[in-house]
C-alpha cells in the first residue's frame, strides 16, 4: 500500500522528534544550568537558586493559569495589569482596615482575601465577555489590559500606593521567610504546579480544556458545555493572578502604574517554551514550570557574568521563545 511505505521511512525521524517534544524544555534547562555552572561558581549555591525560583514564582503561578487558558484555545493579555490592580486594591483595603482592625494578621488575611476576590471577579469579567459576548479573547483582554493599567494609575493618583509600614512588617515573612529554608513563594509555586498538573491530567476539566482547544465543534458535539469550561479557565487565571500578587505585595509593599508590566508576555512565553501549543489543544503544566524557570535563569546567568551586558536579557528571552515555537512547528509536520 502506498500509505504504509512513507510511514516506515519516516519512523526513525519521528521517534527522535517525539523525544525532543517531551524532553525539549528539560534539555534546554539542563544546558542552561551547565552554562551557569561554567560561568560562575556562585550559580549553583543554594541562595542563588532559591532567589531565582522565588522571583520566578509570581510569573510561574500566573503562567500555570495561562496554561489552561491557552490549552483551551484562549489568551489572556490582561494578567500583568490585573496583577497591578489587585496589588493596589489589596494595599488600599489593608490601609483602610487598620483603624478598625488594628495592626495584625487579621488585616493581612483580609487583604489576601480581597486579592483573590478581585482576581476572580476580573476573570469572570474577561470570561463573560469572551464566552457570552462572543468577542475574541485577544480583543477582550487587550481592552481589559488597558482598563486595569489605567485603573491602577488612577487609584495611585499617578504615583505609588504604599502599604502601612507596620502592616508591611507583619506581612513581610510571606515573601522573605519560608519552611525548612525554602521560601514560601517557592512552596506555593510548587503546590500550584502540582495541583495544576493533576487538574490538567486527571480531571474532566483538564481533558475538556484540551478538547475545546483542539476542536471546539467536536467538544460541542460531545456534549461539553464549551462556554462554561472557557469561563472557568479565565476565572482560574484571575484567581491565580490573585495568589501570585498576595506573595508579591510583601516583597515591595507598594503598587504603582509600573507594577506587573510585561508579566503577561513573560507568562505566555513560559507557557509556550514549556511545549503548550499556542493554538490550543495540548498543554502541560510541568512544561510551563520549566519554561518559566528557563526565563528566570537566563536573567540570572546574565547578571552573574561580565562578558555580555545584562541589558540584553530581553533579547535572549526573545530568541528562546522563537526557538521554542520553531521546534514546535518542526514536530507538527
Amino acid at each position: 500500500m502506498s500509505a504504509s511505505a512513507p510511514d516506515m521511512a519516516a519512523k526513525p525521524a519521528r521517534g527522535f522528534r517525539i523525544d525532543l517534544k517531551t524532553a525539549g524544555p528539560l534539555v534546554a534547562l539542563a544546558l542552561l544550568v551547565l552554562l551557569g555552572v561554567t560561568l560562575n561558581e556562585n550559580f549553583l549555591t543554594y541562595n542563588n537558586l532559591t532567589n531565582v525560583l522565588a522571583r520566578s514564582s509570581f510569573i510561574g503561578i500566573i503562567a500555570i493559569g495561562a496554561t489552561f487558558v491557552i490549552t483551551s484555545g484562549g489568551l489572556d493579555l490582561s494578567v500583568g495589569s490585573m496583577a497591578a490592580v489587585i496589588a493596589g486594591a489589596m494595599i488600599m483595603v489593608m490601609n483602610w482596615l487598620i483603624p478598625s482592625m488594628g495592626i495584625g494578621w487579621g488585616v493581612v488575611l483580609a487583604g489576601m482575601a480581597v486579592g483573590i476576590l478581585v482576581g476572580g471577579v476580573a476573570g469572570v469579567g474577561n470570561g463573560m465577555m469572551i464566552t457570552r459576548g462572543r468577542i475574541e479573547a485577544f480583543i477582550v483582554t487587550l481592552g481589559t489590559m488597558g482598563i486595569f493599567r489605567s485603573l491602577v494609575t488612577f487609584l495611585a493618583n499617578g504615583g505609588t500606593l504604599s502599604l502601612n509600614f507596620e502592616v508591611a512588617d507583619v506581612y513581610r515573612p510571606v515573601y522573605y521567610d519560608g519552611l525548612l529554608g525554602v521560601p514560601y513563594p517557592i512552596i506555593v509555586f510548587a503546590l500550584v504546579a502540582i495541583g495544576g498538573e493533576i487538574v490538567m491530567r486527571r480531571t474532566a476539566f483538564g481533558r475538556y480544556c484540551a478538547a475545546i482547544g483542539s476542536n471546539e465543534q467536536v467538544a460541542r458535539y460531545s456534549s461539553i458545555n464549551v462556554d462554561n469550561v472557557r469561563l472557568m479557565t479565565y476565572i482560574l487565571q484571575g484567581v491565580l493572578v490573585g495568589v501570585a500578587v498576595l506573595l508579591y505585595v510583601p516583597r515591595l509593599g507598594s503598587a504603582s502604574s509600573t507594577t506587573g508590566v510585561l508579566w503577561e508576555l513573560e507568562a505566555i512565553a513560559g507557557v509556550i517554551i514549556g511545549g503548550t501549543t499556542l493554538k490550543g489543544g495540548y498543554g502541560r503544566v510541568w512544561g510551563t514550570v520549566v519554561g518559566v524557570v528557563i526565563l528566570g535563569l537566563i536573567g540570572n546567568i546574565l547578571n552573574l557574568q561580565s562578558l555580555i551586558s545584562p541589558y540584553l536579557n530581553g533579547a535572549f528571552q526573545g530568541v528562546i521563545i522563537i526557538l521554542a515555537v520553531l521546534l514546535q512547528r518542526g514536530r507538527r509536520r
Binding site: 493533576i198 491530567r201 478538547a211 465543534q217 458535539y221 458545555n225 489543544g281
Partner: protein, 513 residues
C-alpha cells in the same frame, strides 16, 4: 442528434474515453462527453456517481488517468489550478469562491487588475464591472461588498466574472441548490442569454424539472459509468430517474427483522421547525430503523441537530417515550438516551490530534471518574471493549486518531456514540467515505442494535443504504418532509421522485417539467 437550438456546430470541448482513479479506487470509467457552442448540457447522477470528478477533469483541476480532452478540435492537456480559465473554460464551484470583504468590482477583476502607472485603475474597473453587470441585467452596485450580497447576487457576480474573462465554456456545479424559485428563473434567463451568444454551459443539478427546462442534452452517470447521453426531448423525469438508479441491491445488507407494528413510539416529532427546516413530523418505534433520504442540503441534518438540542428549534413538539422534551444542550439529550453521530467525523466527531482513548470517552467522561479524578484504567477498559465490539484497528492506542483510516475513524466514532448507551441513535451518513467491507460491518452493527430493541435513524445520501437498512423511509426535500415510504414502496425511483420533487406527499401529482 441535433440540439434544440439548431446548432450542429462541432463540439468546443470534448472528452474521449476519460478514466480516473484516486489511488487504487477507480471513480470514472471510460467516459465520452462533448459540448457544443450555445448548448446547455446537463450531467446528472446520484451522489458519488462521478459528476464532480468529471467536471474537475473538464476544467483542468484534475488530470485524467487515461483518455484525452479536445478543445476547439485540438487535443490538449488542460493546465491545472484553474489556469484553464485563460482558455475560456470557467468552473463555478458549488461553494462560492468569492472573498467576502472585496467589492463586486474588485472580485470581478481579482488576479488581473487593471493598472495605470503601476497603480490600480479603480475608476476603469468600476466602469467595466458596471458594464458587465448591465449586460446581465443585474442591479448590483459595483462598490457593494460581496459579504452584503444575497447568495443569488453572489452567483451573478461569479457569472459576471466568468463573462468578463470571455468564458466559452461555463461549468456550473449545482448552481440552483441554494437559490429560490424566483432566483432560479433569473439564473436561467442569464444562462439563455449566454447560450444565445454562443457560450457552452455544462450544468449539474439534482432537480430533474430544471434539467428538462434548461438543457438540450443530458448525460447520465452511475457509479462512474456513462449510462447514456440523450436529447432532453426524448426524456421524461421518470426515465431519467430510472437511468440514474437502475441497480440491484447486493447482499451487503443484513436481513431485515420484521418491524413490530405494536412496538411503542419512542420518539415522536410534530411540526418541528428550525433553521432550514419547517413542519417536520415523524414517529420512531422501538426496534425500528428509520431511514432519512433526500438530496444534500434537504435539511436532514438540521432536523437531527434540532431534535438533540445542538441547535434550537423555533416551533413544534418533541416527545420521548410519550413525555414532551425540549433539549437546549446536547448533554440533556445524551442523558435522556438519545445520541446523535455527526456526519463530519473530522470536523465535529473526533479530536484528530489525540489518541483513541480520550476520543472514545469524551462524550461520557463522567462515567470514568473516581473521587473526582479521571480513572484511566476504567477508560482503558472501555477502549478495550469498544475495540473488540466495533473492530477498531490501530497500531496502538496512543496513535493520533487523524492517522487512522476513515473506516477505523468511523468505527471509533460509533464506539464513542454507543458509550453513552443510548436507546435512540441518530446516525448521519454512517458510511461516508469508507470502504465497502467496513460499510458491511457497520450495516450489521446497525441491524443488531435494532434487533436488541434500540431505535435507529439513519440519515444517508446513498439510496441503496437507506433502502437496504430501513423499515420505513422519510424523504426530505428543501427543508420539508416530502413523503414517508413503507414496505414495497421503498424503491430508489420512488425515493428519487419525492427527493427531486416530482412527487409530493400524499398524491401522485406531477410538478410540470
Amino acid at each position: 442528434m441535433s440540439s434544440a437550438n439548431g446548432t450542429s456546430a462541432p463540439a468546443i470541448l470534448s472528452a474521449h474515453r476519460i478514466s480516473k482513479s484516486f489511488g487504487d479506487i477507480p471513480v470514472l470509467f471510460s467516459i465520452d462527453f462533448d459540448i457544443r457552442p450555445g448548448e446547455v448540457h446537463a450531467i446528472i447522477g446520484e451522489n458519488g456517481a462521478g459528476k464532480s470528478t468529471l467536471i474537475k477533469i473538464l476544467s483542468g483541476i484534475e488530470q485524467p488517468t487515461s483518455g484525452s480532452i479536445s478543445f476547439d478540435g485540438k487535443t490538449v492537456v488542460l493546465p491545472p489550478n484553474g489556469a484553464a480559465e485563460a482558455m475560456g473554460i470557467v468552473l463555478i464551484h458549488q461553494e462560492q469562491n468569492l472573498a467576502e470583504h472585496l467589492t463586486v468590482a474588485d472580485s470581478i477583476f481579482l488576479g488581473r487588475e487593471l493598472k495605470r502607472f503601476g497603480f490600480l485603475n479603480q475608476a476603469e474597473m468600476r466602469r467595466r464591472a458596471a458594464a458587465v453587470m448591465a449586460t446581465l441585467h443585474v442591479a448590483v452596485d459595483p462598490d457593494a461588498r460581496i459579504g452584503s450580497l444575497s447568495v443569488a447576487d453572489k452567483q451573478m457576480v461569479e457569472i459576471a466574472k466568468a463573462i468578463s474573462r470571455d468564458a466559452r465554456v461555463l461549468i456550473m456545479d449545482e448552481p440552483t441548490a441554494v437559490l429560490s424559485v424566483g432566483e432560479t428563473q433569473t439564473l436561467f434567463e442569464q444562462i439563455r442569454r449566454l447560450t444565445a451568444r454562443g457560450v457552452a454551459v455544462i450544468f449539474i443539478s439534482h432537480k430533474l424539472d430544471e434539467i428538462m427546462e434548461l438543457a438540450q442534452r443530458v448525460t447520465v452517470l452511475r457509479d462512474g459509468q456513462l449510462i447514456a447521453t440523450i436529447g432532453t426531448e426524448a426524456l421524461t423525469p421518470d426515465s431519467i430517474a430510472q437511468m440514474m438508479v437502475g441497480r440491484e441491491l447486493s447482499n451487503l445488507y443484513p436481513p431485515k427483522h420484521e418491524p413490530d407494528v405494536d412496538a411503542p413510539v419512542v420518539l415522536r416529532v410534530r411540526n418541528l421547525s428550525a433553521t432550514g427546516v419547517s413542519d417536520i413530523s415523524f414517529d420512531l418505534r422501538r426496534g425500528e430503523i428509520l431511514g432519512f433520504a433526500g438530496l444534500i442540503g434537504s435539511g436532514r441534518t438540521a432536523v437531527a441537530e434540532a431534535v438533540v438540542g445542538l441547535t434550537s428549534h423555533t416551533g413544534g413538539q418533541i416527545e420521548l417515550d410519550g413525555k414532551p422534551v425540549d433539549f437546549t444542550q446536547v448533554a440533556q439529550s445524551v442523558d435522556a438516551g438519545l445520541a446523535y453521530m455527526t456526519k463530519d467525523r473530522k470536523g465535529k466527531g473526533l479530536l484528530l490530534n489525540m489518541g483513541l482513548q480520550p476520543n472514545l470517552t469524551l462524550l461520557t467522561l463522567k462515567k470514568h471518574m473516581r473521587a473526582g479524578f479521571l480513572d484511566s484504567a476504567s477508560e482503558a477498559r472501555a477502549l478495550e471493549r469498544a475495540v473488540r465490539r466495533f473492530d477498531v484497528r490501530a497500531r496502538d492506542a496512543s496513535v493520533a486518531v487523524g492517522r487512522l483510516s476513515g473506516g477505523n475513524q468511523q468505527k471509533l466514532m460509533l464506539g464513542k456514540t454507543m458509550e453513552s448507551e443510548p436507546d435512540i441513535i441518530i446516525m448521519d451518513e454512517p458510511t461516508r467515505g469508507i470502504d465497502v467491507g467496513t460499510k458491511q460491518q457497520i450495516y450489521h452493527i446497525i441491524a443488531a442494535l435494532a434487533a436488541e430493541g434500540k431505535s435507529v435513524i439513519v440519515i444517508s445520501s446513498e439510496m441503496q443504504e437507506v433502502i437496504g437498512l430501513s423499515h420505513r423511509v422519510v424523504v426530505m426535500r428543501q427543508g420539508r418532509l416530502a413523503g414517508v415510504l413503507e414496505g414495497a414502496e421503498i424503491t430508489e425511483s420512488e425515493i428519487m421522485r419525492y427527493a427531486a420533487g416530482i412527487k409530493q406527499s400524499g398524491h401522485d401529482e406531477r410538478i410540470s417539467a
